[in-house]
């Protein structure tokens, strides 16, 4: 009786173990992997909607804007976003340049670097995953300086050095030179990736805030090129 019971519970354990392993194995199989076992994020992706492009705080992120940031945001809102950099073919910055549904981007993953190629204006981002630190003197730029590391199956990308001229979204959420953006890329399935975007900018927002943006795989082999022509004054 005891032996039967033992065998029985052993069988249940084995069954549970089989189910668990089976499920976790199925999940792993659904995401392509690099030779080193890390998830392969390669592919052409685009935002599932323009929701976060319009308003990065959509979905209820609680923002506590500093007074100057609130005033600037209100001013931009009143002007319906007029004067935003993308009007003049300038980059939307990070995370803005990731968020437009009509502007897909392509991930190319190499051992020491992840490159993101953009359809919009033919721009690119480099994310260094070779363990290098941020440069001592990261002059402000439109796309910033990005380093990445793997946290289990998530690629965690941190970006600093973003010029204050970029807007976090087309609605005009501002940021300061203290901005640090963290993007946590998580490929959930072959066709779907979530990115947790954290805005940490104590000069503009009293507390860091995070939103999760969903991206879809674009079934195309060709990124193409969007041509944005400025008219010199």
């Amino acid at each position: 009786m005891t032996s039967v019971s033992t065998r029985s519970s052993g069988g249940v354990a084995a069954l549970i173990a089989f189910l668990l392993c089976g499920v976790s194995h199925a999940q792993q199989d659904s995401v392509p992997r690099m030779p080193d076992g890390k998830p392969d994020l390669s592919g052409i992706w685009r935002s599932a909607s323009n929701r976060y492009l319009t308003d990065l705080s959509a979905g209820g992120a609680q923002l506590s804007m500093q007074p100057w940031a609130r005033a600037l945001y209100d001013e931009r809102s009143a002007a319906h976003g007029k004067g935003r950099p993308s009007e003049r073919c300038l980059p939307r910055g990070v995370p803005g340049m990731m968020l437009a549904r009509d502007e897909p981007w392509k991930v190319v993953q190499t051992p020491g670097e992840v490159i993101i190629l953009f359809h919009e204006s033919l721009h690119y981002r480099q994310i260094f995953t070779d363990g290098r630190p941020f440069p001592d003197d990261a002059a402000p730029t439109w796309i910033g300086y990005s380093v990445g590391r793997w946290d289990r199956d998530d690629l965690v990308v941190e970006t600093i050095g973003l010029t204050e001229e970029t807007w976090l979204d087309e609605g005009g959420h501002p940021h300061s030179d203290a901005l640090r953006v963290t993007e946590r890329f998580r490929r959930r399935t072959v066709r779907m990736m979530d990115v947790d975007v954290t805005i940490d900018d104590p000069k503009a927002y009293a507390r860091p805030w995070t939103v999760t943006v969903r991206f879809e795989l674009v079934p195309s082999a060709d990124l193409g090129e969007q041509r944005c022509a400025v008219l010199p004054r």
Binding site: R88, C89, L90, P91, V108, T110, E113, I115, L117, F118, S121, L122, H123, Y124, Q126, R132, P135, D137, A139, T141, W142, I143, A221, D222, L223, G224, E225, R227, C228, A229, V230, L231, P232, R233
Partner: protein, 261 residues
Amino acid sequence: MEARALCRVLALTCVLAAPASAQWLHVPQPGIPRTADGTPDLTAPAPRTADGKPDLAGIWRRPRGATPPSGPPDGLAAGIQVLFQPWAEAVYKTRGENGGKGMPSERCLPHGITKAFSVPEPFKIIETPGLILILHEEFNHHREIFTDGRRMPEHRAPTSFGYSRGTWDGNTLVVNTTGFVDEAWLDFRGHPATDALHMVERYRRRDFGHLEIQFTIDDPKAYRAPWGMTMTFDLLPETELIEHICENERDAARIEGGSTP
């Protein structure tokens, strides 16, 4: 007129180049060949990828005062005779007389292949299995060269850099590109190209520190015979590209003021 044309081109180039020369980033690069005193050995043999092909990876820049130049008087055709179609010759003449005014990069549109390689700013080559990337510092523009044997998609919209496919001929990467936009500029001087352009590039990394690219321009709508030239590039070891975004909607005003003595 010639002098003004040159001024204009130089002004554009210098204004655009300013951010690049402002500073260099030092990025230590383990595993590169070094001389006895520890500096990178630029004459060591070219590295190879896992499959035995030459690895073109690195940050490259045209040597100072490189020939052929890209601006007046003859652009990339310095020292060679180009057989224009009549309309193309007229366009070329007009562009010279106008001092390069109207070139697509004034409006921050991409240079295209030869013009992008002809600027002083460096570019980075990244070689992966099946795909080679070229990241140009100037304008932060990228280009893809597919080496996985794929064909050009049908009904593809033309682009400034075209659709590039690469194959290996011994140690030389041969890149065939078609699918270009019409009314392109091949250099700052204004050699025109059309949507009939078929560009062939032959990339050869002579040694660790030196790359050459031989270009053949075959565009029967604009030229009565193919022509071409070779550009050489020096490796910039242990550094990184510096972002340069085209802000010509601002620079235009500065150039107007700045180029007047």
